[in-house]
Symmetry: C2
Subunit: 305 residues, 2 copies
Amino acid sequence: MLGIEEIGFYIPTKKISNYRRKEQFGIDDHFIEEKIGVKQIAVKDSDEETSDLCLKAFDELCAKQAVDRREIEALVVVTQNPDQNIPHVSAMVHGALDLPAQCACFDISLGCSGFVYALSIFQAFMAANGMKKGLLFTADPYSKVVDPNDKNTSLLFGDAAAVTLISDNPRLVSGKFTFGTLGSEHKKLICNDGVLFMNGRAVFNFAAKTVPADIRLMAGKNDIDLGDIDRFLFHQGSKIIVETIADRLDIPRAKAPYLTYDYGNTISSTIPILLADELKGEAKTLAICGFGVGLSWASGLLKRL
Amino acid sequence: MLGIEEIGFYIPTKKISNYRRKEQFGIDDHFIEEKIGVKQIAVKDSDEETSDLCLKAFDELCAKQAVDRREIEALVVVTQNPDQNIPHVSAMVHGALDLPAQCACFDISLGCSGFVYALSIFQAFMAANGMKKGLLFTADPYSKVVDPNDKNTSLLFGDAAAVTLISDNPRLVSGKFTFGTLGSEHKKLICNDGVLFMNGRAVFNFAAKTVPADIRLMAGKNDIDLGDIDRFLFHQGSKIIVETIADRLDIPRAKAPYLTYDYGNTISSTIPILLADELKGEAKTLAICGFGVGLSWASGLLKRL
């Protein structure tokens, strides 16, 4: 059975402090620490590309666990900020890592729901094709599209990448997933002429309404009570949205960690970065849920073997 | 069992004749008719977007077969020329078609190998999640990135879109697939600053060498002799590459049709456009192979039920 064996990630060391932008944006410590929950955002170097972030995440994976590149049969990159649109980033990473010619490579274009979607897509693809070892990258550097003077976006989003080793020697395996889309609302979070626009209030309301219902639906499909789930790893959209979802599900906030104070909302990488720590932990059953651009969402259940 | 039930497609009526560009590019009728095999290219209107092409392909699908939108559980768009990078095109199409909120939507970024890859990815995803009806769009309008003065690209690529209805009531079902990537060669076909560059000779040599070997590998995985395959639907890269691959496989050229004289190489839509006709035909066993951007390739076998 395929599942998650190990996770590596990369968060750029370069940071921009939100405390130093209080005057510019008319915000206070409470807004920084309790509302958005982002004290500083991680920012890649200007000459660092999306594929470079992937390679650094892969280095971190290899520092944790030996990976024989000759065994990699599939590679996916989840991004909406590729190096360029042609070719896909996965081909560039394939070339840089000198992977086998028989390795299947493709990119998935999704935003904050991307990791959960891709976990289902990639595992299903690998299983259907008899593959035993694959790399699932998430790398969506929003510094490429954020206007530094836009209060709605520039305080929130950080750059990062993660790589999840999917193999037939897993530590976490997935149960049933749920998915959804509100395409009619896609203009609430969109790039116009290469610059990100977000209607923060609309996206918050969407997530606060949709995610709790989807988590309940997913739990039902997996025949598990919410009380029997040890950990809820929600996309780290902001501190307030994570807390709101936990409260509406009537679960203890301690079970739904918010931990991204020091690097920001890293889009599809927020959940694998949290999961990397959970791999070392004790939680037996973990719910995951991503939500955002599309508008789109996906939920799933992971169980420790 | 999931498979292909029906296919719709859209080719813009606006065309640019290559005969009228003979002097500009120093080419003759033999080059047009026998080498590239493109007499004219199809070009979308400048205000027509990638999602619009998808919607027109969907209209054509519905003219062939009733589709109950409430039953659509998944939607994928294969493109490297989206309306914009955020959000994914599939969310926009989802909104325009007013599909159910529980419908899973994502884009796959792949070029000319995209349909074959996506057929495997999407069917596997649907099967793993118990879905019975989904829409697989291909829409990659290269007019967005082609320099009209570049002889290597502007005579060759045409705009189009196709939509393949995947369902549990299929007419064609797939066997085993093969995949591959030569990421180290990705610069042979790349967008730099939004303009397409192609090393035509290198891409030709790659396809002429890689595709025949991959078709043999795929046939072996499916336990079938090449002589028992009724039809070979190769990506319509150019007339000369399709004929070269057929000759190297020692199969009759009539079994490997080249049919895109009047609209050009439409990237990931070439194979579904050919398949739309084959659905009405008699061929029992069809090989499909896409190859191009990445560099990337994929092959598969389809059997008529």
